[in-house]
């Protein structure tokens, strides 16, 4: 396993001489010196944190449409307005009712209980909220009362606040990007590494399968999946188990994107196969799986990381395309892909509602910039041959 030794010139610290430093610790240290990468990392942490805490922030609810304010341009003054309202009494009443009713058995009863519980939040303009989010909304009302941020990023076709939709959209988009990419990563890397290393007939077969899967029009596959899942009984069973459209979306997307990863990984493995250290491992009698997973994979990390940072944005935007087919995010939920879609529809030469496209693009851009620079930093940090500055 590639590693590096750390030599201290101070003679008094003899103990540190014998302690080796692992790849990861070394990488972390190198990363910390890379200012751009650290900055990007903190930005990403901030974005994730804000996304988590969104219900707590004093923003206009994302689904609150005020059609008389259609397409309002961004306004910075007054910054805070007393426009938020939440029916707290109704919330207390309904949670008491639902608690008293206890555990519901049938799907219908559960549905009804959910409706009753969510009703005051829906009326205020929130999408369906989980228990933690509901608590956060309550806390927000207690902290900020009626005050909420004005339309800093303008309003859209139905008068909804874009700034708030960006934050709520982040929650969905980040998860979508991460999970779907990880799924495709797992499948793709394994597939490509095995194919590349084994070579011969196995390689041929595995790559042919990849070719075939590439050529099958994914549109049909998606429509097919949607239809199957749209059947009444199957939909019911899935809802009982708790799998919703978003989860299915992850799986579908992961199933489409692993193909590219497999091809690229295979290419790298083929060239790595002939490196002397692999031959040495073989000569030592290391088993095939061990060679693949312990020796080859770590050297793929750099290319894999680059691919990761390239795939995440594609996944986020692919989600917008799929929503056209009926899969993915649907109102009242919101995602960045959806916002980009809405934004592009208003680009026409007569009048450009620029805030509808600029702000989502900026959000997407910042996230992806940070991801990329962090990825570059990681790549640099994980390379044992790179000298630390």
């Amino acid at each position: 396993m590639p590693g590096s030794e750390h030599h201290h010139s101070n003679a008094s610290d003899v103990r540190t001489l014998t302690k080796g430093v692992s790849l990861w610790q070394d990488a972390w240290r190198k990363l910390r010196c890379n200012r751009v990468a650290m900055f990007s990392m903190w930005i990403l942490v901030a974005i994730c944190g804000l996304a988590l805490l969104t219900p707590l922030l004093p923003l206009d609810p994302p689904d609150r449409d005020r059609t008389h304010l259609q397409y309002e341009p961004p306004q910075l003054t007054p910054l805070f307005r007393p426009t938020f309202s939440l029916d707290v009494k109704a919330i207390q009443k309904t949670s008491a009712i639902v608690a008293a009713r206890g555990d519901s058995q049938t799907l219908e009863q559960r549905q009804q209980a959910k409706d009753v519980l969510q009703k005051p939040y829906r009326a205020a303009g929130f999408p369906d909220l989980g228990p933690l989010s509901r608590w956060m909304v309550g806390a927000r009302y207690w902290l900020f009362g009626h005050w909420s941020l004005g339309p800093v990023a303008g309003r859209d076709l139905l008068g909804r606040d874009i700034f708030s939709r960006l934050f709520w959209g982040a929650r969905v988009s980040l998860i979508v990007g991460l999970v779907a990419t990880l799924v495709s990563l797992l499948i793709g890397v394994t597939w490509g590494a095995v194919a590349g290393y084994c070579g011969g007939f196995i390689d041929d077969l595995m790559m042919r399968i990849v070719d075939i899967l590439y050529s099958i029009p994914f549109i049909f596959v998606v429509i097919f999946i949607i239809t199957i899942l749209g059947q009444r009984d199957i939909k019911m069973t899935l809802e009982l188990v708790g799998i919703d459209r978003i989860t299915i979306f992850f799986l579908v997307v992961g199933a489409i994107y692993w193909l590219t990863m497999a091809r690229v990984v295979r290419g790298q493995v083929i060239s790595l196969k002939h490196e002397p250290f692999i031959e040495a491992a073989r000569a030592l009698g290391v088993s095939r799986p061990a060679i693949i997973f312990r020796h080859i994979l770590p050297n793929l990390i750099s290319i894999v990381i680059v691919y990761l940072t390239l795939t995440i944005p594609r996944v986020m935007l692919f989600e917008a395309f799929l929503s056209f087919l009926g899969l993915g995010v649907e109102p009242p939920d919101v995602s960045w892909g959806l916002l980009a879609n809405e934004g592009i529809k208003v680009i026409n030469p007569v009048r450009i509602y620029w805030w509808l496209i600029v702000f989502p693009s900026v959000a997407l851009g910042i996230t992806l910039f940070s991801l990329n620079f962090l990825g570059d930093g990681l790549r640099d940090a994980l390379d044992p041959k790179m000298e630390t500055k």
Binding site: I212, F224, T227
Partner: protein, 304 residues
Amino acid sequence: MISFLVKRFLWMIVTLWVVFTVSFFLMRAVPGGPFDSERNLPPEIEANMMRRYHLDDPLWKQYWRQLSNTVRGDLGDCFRRDLPVDRYIREGLPVSAALGLLALVFSMVLGITAGIVSAVYRGSVSDLTLRSVATVGIALPNFVIAGLAIIWFVFLFPVFPAAGWGSVRQLILPAFCLGAPYAAYVARIMRTSMLDVLSQDYIRTARAKGLTQRQVVLRHALPGALLPIMSFLGPATAGILTGSLVVERIFYIPGLGSHFVQAALDRDYTLAMGLVLLYTVLLYTMNVLVDISYALLDPRIELE
């Protein structure tokens, strides 16, 4: 080399057959048919149409008929348009191919150059700028780039025509919009692999031998660094073929791109199948070329 090509050709036949079969049954399994419309037909007429297009035959019989026709080279007539499928392909493929080729060349040239510069001058201002521009190219979906490009270069500064296909000026904007995201990808991959290669021992040797920076970079480092780009060429072509869907719609280019999705949505069985098979052949050929180029670029790799 010959045996390699023969083997690949045989595999292509197998691939085509599997793709054909899977697509055939997938298309029929999806709800709806080629004759759906908002106005529902009286049952007699509907029965007639099914009979005429042999859609009431058992599935295996339809499969066999379509397979034998395809093998003979007859892709049939579209269901949705009164035109033979091969006319569609004959008219649309050259246009899409030309556009795709232009976009590919543009993205390769721009991307490779940017990647090399970025890697060689790592950490400098130009590196950061290039990486930022590349990220913008990746972050924005190509329909956003197209929309903004149109606003900028068609209306604000009337340099290019809005849409169409027929003069050189009409080519530039679509090729740019199509190739831009891939230029960005290529730049990033090139940078990474160039950095990898530049830290290799044999580069150190070359430098020690006293070769100039240009010789080291272009003659010794570049060929090895191009390998990941080659493996990206395959997916890039596929992506350009499907990305051309959006660009061709926006710029009104009579190519094949938009047919891919539309045929599926129309449930036009014959057209969709014809395009799927074409797509498979193109992709497969591209991958074979990529594998051959591996061998050319890295003498250690033999074609098996």
